[in-house]
Symmetry: C2
Subunit: 269 residues, 2 copies
């Protein structure tokens, strides 16, 4: 079977301690590649490393500047192995300039006491919603089928809504079909349009500087998922002094919490 | 004027590119030092570096293992300087073993459009509340005056409360007086007892693996604060497969959002 567009974009080659990735035109954003795809590529460099043991628990990626070259090199470094987890540090360069850093914790997760504290936000079923039109969209958006429950950038603001101005909710799946895994969840957890666009209803200059994803499921729970769709829910806390944050969750179609995520975003307006 | 206990604990010496910190007995936790104090110490190594330009915007610290030695060495590395921000990577060792990594973004924040999206949670005034007794508490807790609004570990559960089981809110200030700054906010943003203790009402084994703080104020806004108290509000999302998260905010006494924070915590039960 040929690789999906996503798997082609995050493909890495060469020495496990110094990988190469060809920047995919399919996932370009306004300036350089979509942050979700580069984050997934860094995670791929760790998860495919011969020394990795376990599945990802947390990941923080810092975006140092737009990648304009055709290739990036990725250096994953195992900083410490403990009995049940590992700490990885990843640095990526493009055109001999640092472009990304990441810290990743992987762990052998045990079957422990379980408790979900936050509630599922509730949403209409995927097939009751229409897909976001992708004509004229930036390339990475075209790789996804997104179906908005609320807070679409491309619809009129509902004046009667009780939602926060920065709140959005959408179903998302890869158009080039593949099951959900840690790599695609890493990308999808960054699929929220900048909250500033939503509030301002305008494409003002903005770019993520730091992006964190926490994984709330292990490999077995992911493997058992029947649906390739995730429900993505996000909002902001505050906009001040050139930076704002956004916070979100991804849920499986059967209602499990998959990831929680937060990011800090530079803006100018 | 003599240094406060906090400033003594986070003090760093020697080469700006390879600092030494003497682990303070005053901020010990159950095993090794309080994560908030080591995070503040790493930030101190960056903010006191001769090449730093700007104030902190985001910080992620990974905890690789308990520090058992008397001294740690801290290597801050400026990975990239942009026009308005810098990306730093910090690695710390104790007894020649890696114990901490951190990524820190500092920036020259401009006066931009401002908007606070989340609401202040509301709380009684500091002087209407009683201090958490500190006798028999682990050392770091004794360095703070904490006054609980809700979710104290050391009070009966209020069966009529509408709060989430994992929710807590407390006022906090340094007992050895000092004004709030980025360093103390970094430590205070980790002053939430593990949410698992709160739900289980028991001290089960738990330890943070990754801790993120976003700063929502700049240096000028901090300098103008009249009060050394912060209101700390936290909750969890999910407990599953050896890891749970917790999410929180710190507010100034005059109602400004100071930090948002999240962490992923290992547990065994």
């Amino acid at each position: 079977m040929s690789k999906s567009v996503f798997d082609e974009a995050i493909a890495i080659f060469g020495d496990p301690n110094c990988r190469e990735n060809t920047i995919s035109p399919a996932y370009q954003n306004m300036v350089g590649p979509f942050g979700g795809i580069t984050a997934a590529t860094l995670l791929n460099a760790v998860l495919s490393h011969p020394e990795v043991e376990g599945s990802p628990v947390s990941m923080t990626v810092n975006y140092l500047g737009a990648i304009k070259s055709a290739v990036m090199t990725i250096v994953p470094r195992l900083i410490r192995s403990n009995r049940s987890n590992q700490h990885w540090l990843v640095e990526a360069q493009a055109d001999n300039e640092a472009v990304l850093t990441a810290t990743i914790v992987v762990a052998q997760r045990r079957d422990t006491w379980r408790h979900q504290e936050i509630s599922h936000p509730g949403a209409p079923a995927v097939n009751e919603l229409t897909s976001l039109p992708i004509e004229n969209m930036t390339p990475w958006v075209q790789q996804y089928d997104m179906r908005f429950v609320k807070g679409s950038l491309f619809e009129e603001v509902d004046e009667n809504s009780e939602a926060l101005p920065s709140e959005s909710m959408h179903w998302i799946t890869d158009r080039s079909p593949r099951a959900l895994d840690f790599l695609s969840l890493t990308a999808m957890s960054d699929s929220f349009f900048p909250r500033l666009f939503l509030i301002k209803r305008d494409f003002v200059p903005a770019g993520t500087v730091s992006y964190t994803v926490y994984f709330h499921v292990d490999q077995n729970q992911l493997t058992e998922l029947q649906s390739p769709w995730a429900l993505a829910h996000a909002r902001a806390s505050n906009f001040n002094g050139s930076y704002f944050d956004q916070t979100g969750e991804l849920w499986s179609e059967d209602g499990q919490l998959l990831t929680t995520t937060t990011q800090m975003v530079y803006y100018k307006c």
